[in-house]
Symmetry: C2
Subunit: 253 residues, 2 copies
């Protein structure tokens, strides 16, 4: 105890100087967060992508320009590309069983397909989600593939993975979804799982966990899972590795 | 089927135009990732903070300047501040039981205390972790508090949460750790949990899950958990809400 006390005395001046050198006061950062949209919105994006923000309805109004720049400039495509690269590298390291049971689960919206053309017309997530107009957009079946995801998808197929598509879209959207997927370059998935009548009102995390559990019960080994929402990836019956794609536009619980 | 086919035909031109407008080819982005350190390193940071990168030993050598800028400029402090704000907002919404069992778990390094002065001398994570020199640094007990975390810590105490400190540091570092915590402004925690002899060789995720499970067995409700590593937050006996603090300097499995 005496030596601990001595150590405390000795270390105070050094620690104090570091403390002052390294960090301004919290209130200074609160002021900066308030004042500088770019710093604020970049931190907001950090909190969203790590799930620290929890549930949210729409992007902060001061971040519309930031999210627009992020989504339409280099950064979104670059972030998507690096996630795809890490995913494929993991897939390449998996020793497949040769029994057709090695599988990968993909979400669809903002994972395989991009709804950016829709969100460009709807404030990049600054407007609260409108199911009617979004369903119309889905019916158009015009969503382009996210190039890095299409590349990953094909790479995993070449490696021999069975692909399951697990989406929050509903059964009534099956045709439009298939058309859109095929058109934008996706093919030969094992199964497309959409929300049926019994899944209505279930939160995404639970619905997707249940569906993954059913696959596992069928004997499939879910090595990887790709999704832009944490509700695609968390819960139970999770994949060995989960890959979070970027999406600062909306949140699904 | 006929209508699906018709829909496919109708939607091709529009989807094609979107596809071309929105995204360049994957190979273009691979080239860009290779060419532009800032874009690459920002995407690398995304992959690290979301855990997409999985296990890694040291930061890419081309990202040393990027990580240095991030850690010593506004962004690290800003990211830390927003996480603290979201954490406190969640804490404020918790209805406490009044039985002294409502609790919050904090990791220590890069969560309550910053080892930035050490990492400034060790390439900001570009050099593989050296236990000997890091243990010497810990013995100095000079690590400053991360201001936003100190503010959160005190805020949670004011709300009535019991604070548990759960660290990968070892029992032999207890004195230095206590001295450092007290010096940098932390006090009145409920318990400081360090790795004992039986925890040696256990991965952090398992070690920390076990310790949280013991707390839950004692009747504590773990509402929140704060850590800079996913191994602080994932596993079993997880908190109701987990808060990932930024750390692009090192990874602990």
């Amino acid at each position: 105890m005496a030596s601990a006390f001595l150590l405390l005395l000795i270390t105070i001046p050094a620690a104090l100087s570091h403390s002052i050198l390294q960090f301004p006061h919290v209130s200074d950062y609160d002021r900066k967060l308030r004042a500088d949209d770019n710093i604020y919105c970049d931190s907001w994006r950090f909190s969203v992508e790590t799930n620290d923000a929890g549930s949210w309805d729409s992007i902060p109004s001061r971040c519309v320009a930031f999210v627009q720049d992020y989504m339409t400039g280099d950064r979104y495509a670059s972030d998507s590309a690096i996630v795809s690269n890490f995913s494929l590298a993991f897939g390449q390291g998996v020793k497949l069983g040769g029994d057709g049971k090695d599988s990968w689960v993909f979400d669809i919206d903002e994972t395989l397909l991009s709804n950016l053309p829709y969100y460009q017309e709807h404030g990049f997530g600054a407007v609260t989600f409108d199911e009617v107009s979004f369903d119309k957009w889905v019916d158009l079946a015009e969503a382009p593939a996210i190039p890095a995801s299409l590349s990953l998808y094909k790479g995993l197929q070449r490696l021999g993975f069975k692909i399951f598509l697990l989406t929050g879209r509903s059964e009534f959207q099956r045709n439009a979804t298939v058309n859109n997927l095929v058109y934008s370059g996706y093919s030969d998935w094992e199964r497309l799982l959409l929300r049926g009548p019994s899944d209505k009102g279930t939160l995404a995390t639970e619905y997707k966990s249940k569906k993954r559990a059913e696959l596992i019960n069928e004997g499939f080994r879910i090595h990887g899972s790709s999704g832009d929402q944490w509700s695609d990836l968390l819960g139970f019956a999770v994949a060995r590795r989960s890959f979070k794609l970027p999406n600062p536009m909306y949140y699904i619980a």
